[in-house]
């Protein structure tokens, strides 16, 4: 298939000396959608934060396009082309929709380029177009989630990392968020996602990893995982 762009090699992580991740390795190939699934507190978000540079691994390396990025600060990692959409939206609550988007493209200095991207992205999320001047915190939950995805896309990332997008969304919105992800993938962006809704996530992903108490316990194509008995029992509640 295609090139491997992200390679996580045997990383260990800890918060305040409390270890949470033990020797995790995986890889993401170009134009793929990879899902990481697992139970609560298994360490999925920690892995994402480690890649995004918010947490630094105690051991091991993270390679992006062959270069080690494991100790770069978060703002430098974005400049390499990895955009992370954190859990819980994390919008700039007092700024307007447009200002939030502008900040998404903060690393870009070319005015024209920013305008162009803004247009493209607002086309992808028509609901935001209507609310350009609205303050972010007054948007509804679904709109906020859309805005956070849109903001993440403003930096034109090659690798998009999504953390628990469906959390706290009503069923019909979960549906549309998943559709959006598929659309973004179709435009050629590589996606790495973490999701509690195992079924939904694996339905749209190419491959998946199952993580348990800080270790990867299973890996494979999403079909394989969906059919595996362990996964069914542990995560799908069947």
């Amino acid at each position: 298939m295609s090139e491997t762009i992200l390679e996580v090699d045997n990383i260990n992580c800890a918060y305040d000396n409390v270890p949470v991740i033990f020797g995790v390795s995986f890889e993401v190939k170009e134009k793929e959608l990879v899902a990481i699934v697992g139970a609560n507190g298994a360490g999925k978000s920690t892995i994402m934060k480690t890649i995004a540079g918010l947490v630094h691994p105690k051991k091991g390396a993270i390679k992006y396009k062959g270069k080690d990025i494991s100790h770069l600060p978060a703002n430098m990692i974005l400049r390499r082309g990895i955009s992370y959409i954190p859990e819980g939206r994390r919008l700039f609550a007092k700024l307007t929709v447009v200002e939030n988007l502008e900040l998404g493209a903060y690393i870009e200095n070319d005015r024209g380029e920013i305008e162009k991207r803004k247009k493209e992205i607002l086309k992808l999320f028509p609901i935001l177009e209507e609310r350009r001047k609205q303050i972010a915190e007054t948007l509804s939950g679904g709109e906020q989630q859309m805005l956070s995805i849109a903001r993440g896309l403003m930096s034109k990332p090659e690798l998009l990392m999504l953390d628990e997008l469906s959390l706290g969304l009503m069923p019909s919105l979960v549906e549309s968020v998943m559709e959006t992800i598929v659309r973004i993938k179709q435009q050629g962006t590589t996606i790495l996602m973490v999701e509690q809704k195992v079924q939904e996530a694996l339905e749209i992903a190419n491959r998946g990893y199952v993580i348990q108490t800080g270790k990867i316990v299973q890996a494979g194509s999403s079909q394989e995982l969906l059919n595996s008995d362990e996964v069914k029992k542990a995560y799908l509640g069947m």
Binding site: L54, P73, R90, K94, E99, L103, Y106
Partner: protein
């Protein structure tokens, strides 16, 4: 009636100086949630810079405010790098205590280097000049300082509200981690904010020696009043700090005149309590 207006005008002019001192503090406070206890001492050092320039090479405060602004900008940056940066990891109070320690260092450094003498620049361009509107006296040094205060406060407000840098500053204030994920170098933003805070107070310090004596203890009360201005205006709100500073100046002067001079700060602090009782987040607070 003339007396009333005269007192009110004096109060407003004083308020402008408070505004300049407070806006720097407000910026730091709003973005980093750090109470800079050494703010008054920044002012004191800014005044010393301006004084020495005037004393040694005859620079007028009208010029040397640039130097003291730059000096305090650098001082702010240094403070951030050496102290605040490390304290941000701990509970919010640690930064407050560290800056309290810093204020002790700076105050006694000034005492050590410049002796406890109070110093005043004489023969500056604006010295003793004044204009009259009707019967009301407008002293020039205060007037010019007020104009500077307005301009600086306005520039800062504009930068924060209307530029990408300003949005980045606001974003950092709201959610540091998310800002980092936007590619904003939050470290640099913090550095810049602390520098800007220093710059504001440095400009104020640069202009003050034309009518206020410099000595190591001069910053104390200014710092305290700046705290009150910032809290009264609502943390992080520059227009709030401006309005609060003007109010405080006015109330201080009127209260001092119509009640008793000894009560003027009582009135100021009382006003703060009153305002926050009615609006617990200050005049313009979120």
């Amino acid at each position: 009636m003339t007396m009333f207006f005269q007192v009110a005008i004096d109060g407003l002019l004083t308020g402008m100086v408070y505004a300049l001192v407070a806006s720097g503090l407000s910026l730091i406070w709003g973005v980093m949630d750090v109470l800079n206890f050494a703010h008054g001492e920044f002012l004191m050092l800014g005044m010393y810079v301006s004084y020495w320039l005037g004393f040694l090479i005859n620079f007028d405060p009208l010029i040397s405010w640039i130097a003291s602004g730059v000096f305090c900008f650098l001082l702010g940056i240094l403070t951030y790098k050496l102290i605040i940066h490390h304290c941000l990891l701990g509970p919010p109070l640690s930064a407050l205590l560290a800056t309290f320690g810093l204020s002790m260092i700076l105050k006694n450094f000034a005492l050590n280097r410049f002796s406890p003498n109070y110093r005043l620049l004489t023969g500056t361009l604006l010295d003793g000049k004044r204009t009259l509107i009707g019967n009301i006296v407008l002293p020039m040094p205060q007037l010019i300082t007020s104009i500077f205060a307005l301009v600086v406060v306005f520039i800062i407000y504009y930068v924060i509200k209307r530029t990408r840098l300003g949005w980045a500053i606001q974003a950092t204030a709201m959610d540091k981690e998310a800002a980092e994920l936007m590619g904003i170098n939050t470290e640099r933003i913090f550095l810049l904010v602390f520098g800007l805070g220093g710059l504001c107070v440095g400009v104020a310090g640069g202009l003050l020696p034309s009518y206020l004596a410099v000595h190591p203890e001069v910053g104390g009360l200014f710092g305290l009043i700046a705290f009150v201005c910032v809290a009264m205006g609502g943390f992080g709100s520059i227009p709030g700090a401006l309005l609060a500073a003007l109010l405080i100046g006015l109330v201080e002067a009127l209260g001092g005149f119509y009640i008793a001079p000894v009560f003027k700060y009582v009135v100021v602090f009382g006003l703060y309590l009153l305002v926050v009782m009615l609006k617990p987040k200050g005049l313009f607070g979120w």
